[in-house]
């Protein structure tokens, strides 16, 4: 009786349903997981590249900012000196 049940149409429908559920999960995981792994590898590689790039660039940026700070200081000094000179000559 019980053996007959396993071959009944109801059992076949339920088995196919179960099979479809597992198949869906399997296909979805097989599709998504490698994509995540691939993306993760890519991002990791890009991060390493970016890290190297920043290691090169940050000192450059730092020195640029220093140079520009010096230039601005020199501009300020130039403006002050010019102001005092013009003031001195105007008051002569």
């Amino acid at each position: 009786m019980d053996r007959k049940k396993w071959k009944s149409p109801q059992a076949i429908i339920v088995m196919s349903l179960i099979f479809l559920i597992f198949l869906y999960i399997g296909i979805d995981m097989a599709k998504v997981k490698p994509k995540i792994r691939k993306d993760l590898k890519e991002v990791k590689r890009e991060y390493i590249e970016l890290s190297g790039f920043l290691d090169r660039k940050i000192p450059e940026i730092d020195s640029t900012l220093r140079i520009q700070a010096t230039q601005i200081t020199r501009q300020g000094e130039g403006i002050d000196s010019l102001n005092s000179k013009v003031k001195l000559l105007t008051n002569k």
Partner: protein
């Protein structure tokens, strides 16, 4: 091949004829797919979203650095222009001062002749210094970084030698 009587479909009878073990497996499969949709798939989607965001962040950093390189070039040339402008202006003031002194020497060596003419010249020189003071001070005090103000306002004179 057995046919299912759909017109007289009865869920109780359907379950009765399904093996018990299979019922448990089906329930387990339903739980599994529900959990998969609730947690695992959502987590995977979040992971993908995070990775996408990270890529955007990396590209934004590269863009920022490139923009900084452009800014560095522009700012550097602007600063050099301002410094050159200030040096030339300084040279101009020095030049005017030297001219004034020369003229004063000439006036003094004239020995009191043409005194009215001399006074007019002195007044004229004072006026030019005042004008110079008024004309250049406001612009120098507020340099505008956006509009290349130096290039607009300043006409470079190669005859004027900058003073160190």
């Amino acid at each position: 091949m057995a046919a299912i009587p759909i017109d007289k479909f009865n869920l109780n009878r359907f379950w009765e004829k399904t093996p018990t073990a299979l019922k448990y497996v089906l329930i387990f499969a339903i739980f599994l797919i529900t959990a998969y949709f609730l947690f695992s798939k959502r987590m995977d989607d979040n992971h993908l979203g995070e990775l996408k965001q990270m890529k955007v962040g990396i590209n934004a950093t590269y863009e920022l650095i490139n923009n900084f390189d452009e800014f560095r070039g522009e700012q550097d040339s602007y600063n050099k222009e301002v410094l050159k402008y200030l040096n030339n202006l300084h040279a101009l003031v020095e030049d005017l001062n030297a001219t004034t002194n020369r003229k004063l020497d000439m006036i003094l060596s004239a020995g009191g002749k043409n005194s009215q003419n001399i006074i007019e010249k002195i007044l004229l020189l004072n006026e030019s210094f005042e004008r110079l003071s008024k004309a250049y001070q406001p612009d120098i005090a507020k340099p505008n970084l956006d509009n290349n103000k130096v290039n607009k306002n300043y006409q470079y004179d190669p005859q004027i030698i900058p003073v160190d």
